[in-house]
Assembly symmetry: C3
Homo-oligomer: 453 residues x 3
C-alpha cells in the first residue's frame, strides 16, 4: 500500500528541492504581472511538469465589485540621460518598470521625471517592486544610490508597453479524489523577478501537484485537489466569481507563498480559526520540533483575504516561511535566487505533503468493542507479561485510539489529546483495523452498518 | 454631526473637573443619610444643574424583603464633659453622630457612655463613619486620640434627632433616546461628609447627565438614559420594587462611586460577566494606556448587589477609581475635599463619556460586497501604488471592518479582534457607510432591506 | 443531626489509620491473584469488618471481548540448586513466583532456567512482581543480586500450582441511600504481598464503607454506595458485563489505589474531565492546602480504564497518593509494610470521606427572595452597625449563596466562584434554610412547590 506518509523524516527533500530551484531559475527572468504574456509563458513552463489547464477571462468581465482589467504587455523600457546612456534599463531587471505602466515616449527634465521614480532610501542598493494596476500611470523603480546620482538635464523616457483589451490568464489543475470534497491549493503567479514572493509558491505548488499525481496513480486520494496559479487578488476574485457553485466543496485550503527562504515556518490561520486545516498544519509544525509561529487570521496578506471574505469564509489558511513584509528583501531586487535555497524549498514541500497526508488519513473510527478494553494480549498486540512499570508507546497509542474511537473524535483529535504524533496514532489505527478491532466510520459503508453502535 | 467622541484625548477635562469639585464643596457640609432633609437638600442643589425629579416614598412601603424605614432628621448633637465643654460636637463634623441615631438627652458616666462611642485605634486621628439604620440605637464617632483623653466623670449627652414616619427621597432623570432600551446610571447619595464615597459619584453623574442632555439637544441619542440618585441598598431596592416593568428595558448599567481620588480605575464586572457593558468599559480602559484593574463580580459593594441579584441579574457593573474599602481614607473623616481632585473627577467623567460613546456607536453592520473585498482603490480609500511593505492603520482598519461586517460582529467585536481602538473602527465604519460599502444592520430599515443577504 | 462533615480537620485520622494498617498486616502474607483462594481468604478477612457479599463467576464466562480464565491456586514453589538448597523459595515471598504460573516439576541447567527468571538490574535487591495471566507459562522473580550469584549446574524447579476450571471471585457491598443514584467505589484486590498497590486501597475502601455504614445508621445517605473489591481489569469487565442495567445509575465513582504512601495526593480525572466527581475531588484537595496534582484522563492505569471505556464513559476518576509506576517501590518487594504508614492511610480515608460529604451535600438551592438581597440584619445574620471596612467570612459567604442560589448553581459552583470552602458554603446554606431564606431545589418536594419561581 502506498499510503501517504506523515513521517517527514522519511522524505528525501534534497532532490525535489534542487528541481524546484532549477525551475525557479528558469521562471525568474520572465516579466509577470496580473495579466499578459509573462504569466502565459510562466504557466507554459509549469505545464511541462504537470497537466495544467490555462484559462483566459476577457477584459471587462465583472467579478464582484471589480472588473477584469486591460491586459498589459511590455517589450522594453529605459531612461536615457542627455548623453544617450541608459541610466535605467528594463533589460537589466524587469523590476525597473512600475508594473502595469502605461506606454510613454517623451523627453523631460529631471524635475519632471522625478515624480515617476520610486526608490528605497533605507535600502539604497535595492530596486523596489511597485505596481499601479488600477490607476493608469507610468513610472520607474531604481536603487536610491542611482537616483541620487542622476544629474540635472534632459532625459529620454521610453516605456514600450501596451494596455489593451485582452485577457486575464490563470492556470488550474484538478486532481479528482474518491470524494468531490476539495482541498484548495492556491498560489499567486503575478510577481515579476521576485523569488521568495512568489516563485517559491509557484514551484512548491507545482511539485506538490506532481507528488499527488504520482500517489493518486497508485491509489486514489480521498480528497479532490484543486491547484490554482492565479494573479493576486483579481485572480482569486475572478476564480471565485466564475465558480461559486464549486466553492462549497472546498473543505480545506492553503495559500502557498514565501516558502523558499530559510526562515522558520509561519502559519496564518483561516478566519474560522479552528478549522481542520488549521489544526492539521499546527500539529504538523509542532511535530517537526523546530521553531515555528502561528498567527491569527487578519484580513491582509495574500489571497486568503478573498477566500476568507465574509461571503465565503472558507477554511483556507496560509503556510509560509517568513511571512510577507517581514523580511528585508521583501518586494525588492534582493528577493532573488540567492535569497532562496533548494533545502528550504524541499523542506517546505515535505511539510505541505505531511499536512496533506494528515488530511487524507484524518478520519473517525469506531471501536468494535466499546465496552471495556478488547483483549489485546491474545492478539499479540500487548506485552504478554504484566506488572512492568513502563508500556511501549505503540501500546499506549493503541489504548488511546481504542478509548476515543467513539465516532466523534478524529485521529487528529486523538493525537492532540494523547500527545502522540498523528503518524503513530494513524499507524496503530491501521493496525487495529487490520485486527478487526476498529472500523472506519463512513456513512453508508457496509462494514460500518454492521458495527456501528 | 455632533456624534459623541470616543477619543478621550479630545476632551477638555479641566473645566468640568473644577465645576464638579465646586459642586462637591457645596454638597460636602450637608448631613445626608438614607432618608431625610440632608438628601432633599442635596438633590435640590443637583437640580440646579440638571432637571432632576425627586420622588418621595412613604415610610412603611414594603420593598421586597424590606420596608421603607422611618425618616431621620437631625438638628444638633454633642457630648459635654463635667466642665460643660463640648468634647464631641456635631457642628464640627456630621460624622460625629452614628448615622440614624435615635434622639437622646441624658447624663451618664464615661463607662456608660463608652459602649456608644466608635473610634479607629489604627487611625487615631480620624473620625469613623458608622451607621445603624435598622437597629434603633444611638452613638457618637470620634478620633481615637480624643477618646483616649476623655476623663472619668459625668457627661451630658444630647442627640437632637427625630425618627418618624416620613419618606425615602430619591432623584431621577430620564433622558429619552430613539429607543426605550435603557442605560442605567446609578449613584448613592446617602453618605454625609465623605467626598470620594460618594459625593464624587453624585457630581460625576450630574455632569454626565448634563453632557448627554447637551448632546441629545443636537442629535437624539440611541439609548434612553436613566440617572438614579438613591440611598444605598434601600434606594435601589425601592426603585426596583416600584419599577419592575422598567427593569427589562435596562440593557447596560453602571454604578458610579469613588471616582474622585487619584487612584487607577477599577472596573467590577456585572454578574453576567461578559455583558456588552463589561466589554465596553474594559476596552475603554485599555485604550487609555494607563494602569487599571478588572474585578469579577462579587455580591458585595454598592447597589450592583441589588441590580445583579438573581431575580434581576441586570448587566450592571461598577466603574470606580480605588474601590470601596481599599483606600485608607474610606469611611473616615479623611475622605474629605483634600482627598479628591478636579483632575481626577474630570478624567472620570471623560471615561464615562467614552464608554457611553462606545455604547451609542456599537452597532452591527453589513458589508454590501461580502464576496471578496470591494475595490477600495477606485474609491480613493486605498493607496493607488501597490507593493509597499506597510499599510496605513486606517486602511487596515477598513479591511477588518469589511471582513467582519457580517451582521454578527459588533464594532466592538471588530475592535477587540483587530487590536485597533473602537474610535478608529467606528470612524472607518462611518467612512465605509458614506461610500455605500457598508450598511448598518437594523431591523425594518429600508436600506437594510435592500442590502441584507 | 449527624450530617457528614467536610471539615477534615475535625476528623481523627490516627485511630482508623492504625486499624487499617493492622488489617493490612493481616492481609499482607496472603498470595492473591486475579482468581483463587488467596482472594477468597482476603475477602473473608474484610468480611469481618463490613457485610461483604462474595460473588463467584465460573471459568469460561464470556465478559465482552474476554473470558473468565481458569482459576489459579498455588501451594508451594521453589528452585533448588545442585546441593539441594532452595535458592528461590515461595515460602519466603509469594512475589517469587510469576503470578499465574502453570505447574512445573523439572530439572534443568541454569541456561534453560534463565528465560524463566525475572529480576530488576536497576534495583538489584528487590524482587519484582510479574504476571502472566493470559499466556500459560511459568517463571520465578528474584533479586538481581541473587540471580547473578546462581552458579552453573543443574537446578530442581518446582511450582506446585493448579490452573483449572473454577471461579473468579469478587466482593461487593451495596449501601442503599434515599436515591438509587449510585457512587461507585472500586478497588483491585488481586495483587499479592504488595502494600501500597493495593492492600492500601482494600483497607481504605473497607473503612470508608464502615464509616458510611455507621453514618447511614443515624441518617439515610443521599446516594447509594456500591463498593467493589475486584481483580484488576478482568474483575471490572466481569462486573460491568453482568450489571449493564446498573451502570447508568452510577453518577460518581472513584478507583481507590496507592493510598498508603506518604506522597502527595494525585487525582486522575474521569474521561468526562469536568464531572462533578472531578470537581469535588479537586476542591477537596485544594482545601487541604497541601501540595497535590491533577492529571487528565488517560486510558491506562487501573480499572478506570474499563469504567471510562467509550461504551460506558462513566464519571469515574482515581484518587491516589503517588500514582502507579511513579514510586521506586512500585511492583517490587519494597512495596511492603515499611513503605506505608498508618498516618497516610488515615489521611487518605479522611480525604475520601470529605469528598463523599461534599457529594452528599452538593445540591442546588433557591433563594426565596431573589429580587434584591433579603434583609439579613433583622434576622441577626448580619452586623447591625454599617460602615465598617471588612465583613465577616460567614456574612460574605451568605451573600454568595443568596446571589447564586438560582436553581442553576450547585453549592460547589458557589464555592468555586467565591473562593470559600465548600464546608463554609454548605454551612451558611443550612443556616439560610433554617431562617427560611433558602430552599433546597428538589423535584416534587412540597416545600419546593411553594417557593419555586
Amino acid at each position: 500500500m502506498n499510503r501517504l506518509s506523515v513521517e517527514q523524516t522519511n522524505t528525501n527533500t534534497t532532490e525535489p528541492g534542487q528541481a524546484m530551484y532549477d525551475m525557479m531559475a528558469a521562471l525568474y527572468p520572465l516579466c509577470r504581472s496580473i495579466t499578459g504574456d509573462g504569466v502565459r509563458h510562466s504557466l507554459r513552463l509549469i505545464g511541462r511538469a504537470i497537466p495544467l489547464t490555462c484559462h483566459e477571462v476577457p477584459t471587462g468581465t465583472p467579478v464582484f465589485d471589480w472588473t477584469v482589467p486591460k491586459e498589459w504587455n511590455i517589450r522594453d523600457a529605459y531612461v536615457k540621460n542627455a548623453s544617450g546612456e541608459k541610466v535605467i534599463d528594463f533589460q537589466q531587471s524587469n523590476l525597473h518598470v512600475l508594473n502595469y505602466s502605461a506606454p510613454v515616449a517623451a523627453r523631460m527634465s529631471l524635475a519632471a521625471l522625478k515624480p515617476h521614480l520610486f526608490s528605497l532610501p533605507d535600502q539604497p542598493t535595492c530596486i523596489p517592486y511597485r505596481t499601479s494596476y488600477y490607476r493608469e500611470t507610468w513610472g520607474f523603480c531604481l536603487a536610491h544610490n542611482v537616483l541620487e546620482q542622476l544629474e540635472e538635464g534632459d532625459y529620454e523616457v521610453c516605456i514600450d508597453s501596451t494596455l489593451a483589451d485582452g485577457h486575464l490568464t490563470y492556470g488550474e489543475l484538478v486532481l479528482p479524489g474518491t470524494s468531490d470534497e476539495t482541498v484548495l491549493i492556491s498560489t499567486h503567479c503575478c510577481h515579476p523577478s521576485l523569488c521568495n514572493d512568489n516563485l517559491s509558491g509557484m514551484v512548491v505548488s507545482t511539485y506538490l501537484a506532481k507528488a499527488l499525481l504520482a500517489q493518486s496513480a497508485e491509489q486514489p486520494l480521498r480528497y479532490t485537489y484543486r491547484f490554482l496559479f492565479i494573479p493576486g487578488t483579481i485572480g482569486s476574485l475572478t476564480w471565485l466569481s466564475l465558480h461559486e457553485d464549486e466553492v462549497t466543496k472546498i473543505k480545506h485550503g492553503l495559500v502557498v507563498a514565501c516558502v523558499g527562504d530559510e526562515g522558520a515556518f509561519t502559519y496564518k490561520k483561516s478566519r474560522q480559526g479552528n478549522a481542520a486545516i488549521d489544526r492539521a498544519v499546527i500539529h504538523t509544525l509542532a511535530q517537526r520540533q523546530q521553531p515555528y509561529q502561528v498567527l491569527d487570521f487578519s484580513p491582509f496578506g495574500y489571497d486568503e483575504r478573498q477566500y476568507c471574505s465574509p461571503g465565503f469564509n472558507l477554511p483556507v489558511g496560509s503556510l509560509t516561511r517568513t511571512p510577507h513584509g517581514r523580511f528585508a528583501e521583501y518586494h525588492t531586487s534582493d528577493d532573488n535566487l540567492a535569497f532562496v535555497t533548494p533545502a528550504a524549498l524541499g523542506e517546505s514541500l515535505a511539510t505541505y505533503l505531511a499536512v496533506i497526508a494528515l488530511l487524507e488519513q484524518n478520519e473517525r473510527y469506531l471501536n468494535c468493542n466499546p465496552k471495556g478494553e478488547p483483549q489485546l494480549g491474545r492478539r499479540g498486540l500487548y506485552s504478554a507479561f504484566g506488572g512492568k512499570k513502563d508500556t511501549k508507546a505503540s501500546e499506549m497509542a493503541m489504548l488511546w485510539v481504542l478509548n476515543y474511537a467513539d465516532g466523534d473524535h478524529t485521529l487528529l483529535d486523538i493525537a492532540e489529546k494523547s500527545g502522540y504524533s498523528f503518524a503513530l496514532i494513524a499507524e496503530v489505527a491501521h493496525t487495529l483495523v487490520a485486527h478487526g478491532l476498529l472500523v472506519r466510520k463512513e456513512n453508508g459503508s457496509k462494514e460500518n452498518a454492521v458495527h456501528e453502535l
